[in-house]
Every structure is written in C-alpha cells, then in structure tokens.
Symmetry: C2
Subunit: 417 residues, 2 copies
C-alpha cells in the first residue's frame, strides 16, 4: 500500500483517545465518583447514548435551535430523528417517569457516562466528555437540596481539594423569578428574561463596561441587581451547611445555571484559583421536568464533568502517579520458554498476582525495556535454572534492586506492595 | 400540559435502559472481565464512540456496503463523515499505529465499551451492545495465540461456566486459503471465496440440503470440505492447550469468523447447550491490519459481547443475586429529623458504611417499604430517643429480625456483612 493511501491515525475532531496512562486517570476519577456517591446511598443506572431527538425539544422553541446547532442529531434509515445525548437529565427523567409506579421514593440514582455537544473544541470544552450525574427523586424537603450540595462539597474533598480551593455559590430560581417581576418583565421565560439570565451567567467573563452595556440593552437599571438579602429558600439550604462547618458555601445572586428546567435552588462550584476563577460544575432543583412525561415527581441533582475536574486536579497537583494494574513482568531467554512462562504466570495469577509475560522474540535487555515502558514495577527472568531450582531473582526496575526468592513466596511479596 | 402532548418514556429502538438491578448485572460482567484480563497483564484504554467513517472503508468495496447498510454513519456540519463504531479492532489498530514508536511490545490492551450496529433487533442482537476487547500486539509466536485462546477459556471459567458448558473451536485462515486454492479459486478475496466463507459460517444454522445447494451454487464439490487433518498452525496452538488440560478446545475446519482482516488462527467459543448451540464470541490473528496505517505490527485478539454472555449466564443460572451498594436505610419519624439523620449517616459513611436516608415526608411504614423496594438489607429508625440514648434498633428486612445496638458498634456490624 503506498503512502498516499495510508489511513490517518487521528481521532475524530474534539474527542480523545485514552492510552493506558490517560485511561488510568479517567478510572481514578470514575472510581472516586462511584465510591463517594455509593457511600451516600446512590444506585447506578445507565441508558444508551442514542435518544429520540424529541426528548430534547421540550416546550421552548429555543430548544429547536439548540438541537440543530449544539447537538449531534441525525435521521436513521427508519426515519427516526436521533440525538447523541448532550446531557443526562432528560434521560433519567424519562426513565424515572417510565417506571414511576414501580420505583420507591425517595430514589437516588447516579451514572457515569459520555455525552456529545457540537461545539468548537477549546480548553475545558470538548465535543465528547464524561460526566457523573447524581439525582434525587421524590423529595420536596430542603434537606434533599442540602444533601445534594453537601455531596458536591464531599466530592471535592474526596479528590483531595481543600476548602480554600473551591467555593459553592447558591441561588434560587424563585428569587431570580422575583427579580424578573421587580424589573417589570411579565413572562419568566420571555426574551428579555432569557437575555438577563445569560448576562448574569456570563458576568464573570465580562468587563464592567460590557456588563453595563448588556443591562442597558435590555433596559435594566444596574441598582436593581445589587445587594439582595439571602432569599428564604436559599437560607434553608445554606444555613445547615454552614452550621455543619461548610464555610465555603455562599449565597450568590448571580448564579443562574443554563438549563431551563430548574425551578428552585441552583448552585455552582467555583475554582477559587484567581487565574482560573470559573465554574467547575453545578446543579439544582427541577421539580417540573417529569411533567413532560405526565408525571409529577420533585427532583434535585447535579452533574460533574471529567474535563473540568481533570483540569482542576492537574492545576492543584492532585492526580495520583500512574501505577499499572500489572505487578510483574516475566522475561524469558528465548521463545521456547514462553509456554513455561505462561504456566508459571498461571500459578501466580491463581494466587491473585497480575502477571504479563514476554514471548522471548527479543533480547532480554529489550524485554526489560518493554516492562519499563509499561511502568511495570518488577521483572523476573525465567530460564532453565529458575525452573529447576524453584528460585527466581525479582528485580525492581525503579531502583535496580534484586532479590532472590523461592517461587512459593512470590505471591505474598507482590500482593503486599 | 395535555395528555396528547406527553413525551414517550420509551428508549430508542434496539437499545436498552439499565435500571439499577440491570446495571448491577452489567457491572458484574464488566468487573469479571476487567479483573480477569488485568490478572493476565492487560492495560485498559478507550476512545470515542465517534470515528471517521474512513476507518471502516479499508480496501474492499464490500466495506462500503457494510458502512452504508450496517452502521450508523452520518455527515457532521463540518462535512466530515462519522460512524458510531461497530467494533473496536479498527480503533485499537489506529491507536497502536499512531504511537507505534512510543509503545513497548508485546503490548497488551483491553477495553470495555459500547458499539452500534444498524440491524433489526432480535434475540442476542441489539443495535447497541457492550463488549470486552482484548488485543495483544507485537508478538508473532504461536504462544501469543495460545494466550488469547486460554484467556477466552479462563473468562468462561471466571463466570462460573464448567468445561462441558462450552467448546472452543479453532481453525486457521491459512488453512482456509489453502482450501480455496485446492478448489481452484485463484483469488482469496474473490466473490466465490467470500460466498464459501459465508456458507461455512452459516452452516450450523442451515439444513444439509440448504448447505449442499449453497455449495452447488458456487460449484464446490462437498467431498473437498471433508475430513481435513488438523493444520500445523492450529496444532501449534491447540496442542499446548490440550496438554494443559483444556480438553474442550478443538480443531474445526468450518470456523471462519466474519471479518476480512484475520490472517492466521481464528476461533469461536460455542455454547454446548443443544437447544442453543451457537457462537458466543471469538477472535483470531490479524497481522496485516496495521498496514492500513503504514505500520507492520502482528496482532491477535478477541471480543466478548454483553448480550450473548448475559443470555448464556441466564440460561445456566450464573447471574448473582442483586445486592445494592447501600448497606442501610435511615428512616425518621418526621421531616424535622432529616438533618440529624444526615449527620448520623455522615458519621457512618466516614467509617466506610454506605447509607441512604429518608426525609420523613411519608409515614414510617412507607419509608420502610421504600428501603424494601430498593432491596436495602437493613433499616434503622432514628428519633429523639435514639439520638439521646446513642442506641438504635437495626432491623433486617428479609427476616424481620431486630437487634439493639450502640451507635459506635454499627460500622463494624455493617462492614462484616
């Protein structure tokens, strides 16, 4: 095959390949997510990445625009319009509504899945990302909102973040709606209200002049936005958290959250790094979403994406060093020893050790280099002498240290590391 | 919103929703896969489900047909043709070719991911399925083929299958090519050879008459197919396995495997259940695939799908009973106790217990029913008395048994279960 016909080894635009060391970071994030939310009583669910496009249409004409411009939507050969899901909330709402009578409430669900958005790839924004979604259905109590925000806090701690590293800013859609009314905007979802929400949402990325110009454009006096007291529903959620010692949880009247479906308390977790002061993730209460399916179930939840949290962990040096799952590599003097190595490895595996073997197609030195490239911590060379004497030399690659050991002691040695 | 406008709660055609009990089965399968292949020294990788459509075109015109008729392929707004991956091998070949100089060989990789095929949903075949993919790159030795087949065997055992439950049938593409030559077919990949492969592949689903008619159509005398001796390359792989005691590994001249890219030993694992005698999964050697990307790297591997293995496990009663991750449910007499319950739960969680709480919006009896619906094994009712006395009653829901216990003994009790 000539060069001009070579296939590209590039991935599709805006998505990532995860080689083992990268995948290990993903797995670290996923495991931290899963073990923390299971501690809080959440059960894992999943659904397909393909959903009927109608799921994202909802009631607003603007959604049509979002579907057409921001999602991957196409028509299958059966003339069905399908979308690569851009978020999990509509899916989990669909699933809970579909089995409302069988499921017990309060119902705690989580999933760790991938999503697609059609956007120009940039820092912190890719076309495909992975996200933890946590949702609590069937509870109206403010204690449910408190639980959800406490979990956002707890997750940051589970990743090793300190209280000063982040801040949780809480607002309420009801308070925002009241503001809208005070501004004389009659419909909560009309164009002017939408523009104001978007302006508040973008405020931190704008200069004061840009923000003031935006307010003028929709005819809102800046003083209307200033110094609101903490609304009652926000206080009912924030006070118990601060009383428990979560001092970085604060009321912030500018927190909006992008999605239309929020109805109550909303929150965002911010990176406090002055050079990177931005929203890491967030969520809130969405009590009316299931009515799209003819069911009435209150709900509160949040989503936490892998791209932003990975950036955050990197910037704080919180990603653990790569350690492969494989404990030891067996090198052999020549190909004839490969089957013996496999038998030897089989015994160690039965005792719980993770073992890879070499087939002896290359020189011993090169086999050891392979183990080193894979960052496998130990190597054993298995030849006739070792098989006969039932003793091997275990070499630690990082230090070069060697240790003679009877074969029956190996499993214990590796499992202790 | 009136009823006629209600959104459907159905998933897209041919894909599945996984509620917690179903997801637990998936997780059982995924964990069994991951822990077994890591024992054998394989490292996890991943890539996006979206791939450039060109990746599946290859050299054969027939591939164009497969892309158009059997995959989800669409054009994005940047005029790129993209495919929802139907299998992992082209992706992993792309990734290994892309970093050929940095990666050490032999290289052992695995992934557990989802795939899409555009087909009519039926038993054992869905539009979306999950699959374990195991690939070993950079080894020409027959011992590498042996390792891969031994892993297929080991995985069946890891799921609790007995040797009599399945059979591994091995053949060789080289032997098939020799057969093609004996039949006077000049080109290995011409139309007649393809038809013969497809016929052999489908033989077990056909009557003798249908098979004979198929042979007549491509002008092949049936006696040409009979009683071949085990080819040398198959023997080199099968003999060491049988010598190690894997007695259900056999030579079978009718095993073909669908994909064009196989070049050497191929195998399929069959369910021996006479009512369901079919291929569960398989794989083989594909030494030339990376040449599509201008690299020469020998490779051998297999894929094992969730749909067929789940059916198999179900038919043999090998799926473990559902046990939720949550150890205990805290019920409360009224909503005022929700925050105390949260504090109490927080302490248990710090000790490693997975705890869900109720918010007291319903009667105690209904709260206990919720725990029962979620199959959480234990319930504690937390009221003023319990908070004051620091003693609680732990109720086991299955037996109704109750046990009084000081709070500081709880973590130990739950973690022992």
């Amino acid at each position: 095959m000539n060069d001009s016909k070579k296939l590209s080894t590039e991935a599709y635009k805006g998505v990532r390949d995860f080689y083992p060391e990268d995948q290990a970071v993903q797995n670290y994030i996923f495991k931290t997510w899963a073990s923390f939310v299971e501690k809080c009583g959440y059960a894992e669910y999943n659904a397909s990445i393909l959903e009927p496009a109608d799921l994202y249409r909802g009631k607003n004409a603007e959604n049509e625009e979002i579907i057409n411009e921001q999602t991957y939507t196409f028509t299958d050969r059966g003339d069905r319009e399908v979308t690569l899901r851009p978020e999990m909330t509509p899916t989990v709402a669909r699933m809970v509504a579909g089995k409302r009578r069988e499921l017990g409430f309060p119902l705690r669900l989580y999933s760790i899945q991938n999503f697609f958005r059609y956007e120009r790839p940039q820092k912190g924004r890719l076309r495909e990302f992975w996200q933890l979604n946590v949702d609590l259905f069937g509870a109206e109590s403010k204690a449910a909102d408190t639980e959800i925000i406490a979990m956002a806090y707890g997750l940051m701690h589970a990743f090793g973040a300190k209280e000063g590293d982040f801040e949780i800013r809480v607002n309420s859609r009801q308070a925002l709606n009241k503001l809208i009314q005070e501004l004389g905007i009659e419909e909560v979802y009309d164009e002017r209200a939408r523009k104001l929400y978007r302006l508040l949402d973008a405020q931190k990325k704008m200069t004061e002049e840009e923000f003031a110009a935006g307010l003028r454009e929709i005819d809102v006096a800046p003083e209307k936005l200033l110094s609101h007291e903490m609304p009652e529903d926000v206080a009912a959620v924030v006070d118990p958290l601060r009383n428990t010692g979560f001092m970085n949880v604060k009321y912030d009247p500018t927190v909006v959250r992008g999605f239309d479906y929020y109805t109550g308390v909303v929150f965002e977790v911010f990176d406090t790094n002055p050079e990177n002061n931005r929203s890491l993730f967030g969520g809130g209460r969405y009590d009316n979403l299931l009515s799209l399916f003819g069911e009435e179930v209150p709900a509160v939840g949040f989503g936490m994406g892998d791209v932003t949290i990975r950036d955050f962990l990197q910037s704080r040096n919180l990603i653990p060093e790569y350690v492969p799952a494989t404990h030891v590599y067996i090198a052999v003097p020549s190909p004839e020893f490969a089957l013996s190595a496999q038998t030897f490895a089989g015994e160690l595996r039965r005792d719980g050790v993770n073992v890879a073997i070499d087939f002896g197609e290359k020189k011993l030195g090169d086999q050891i280099k392979t183990a080193d490239k894979h960052k496998i911590p130990y190597v054993i060379v298995l030849g006739s002498d070792e098989i006969e004497s039932k003793e091997v030399i275990v070499r630690e690659l990082k230090t070069g240290e060697e240790k003679k050991m009877p074969i029956h002691k190996l499993a214990e040695f590796f499992l202790k590391r």
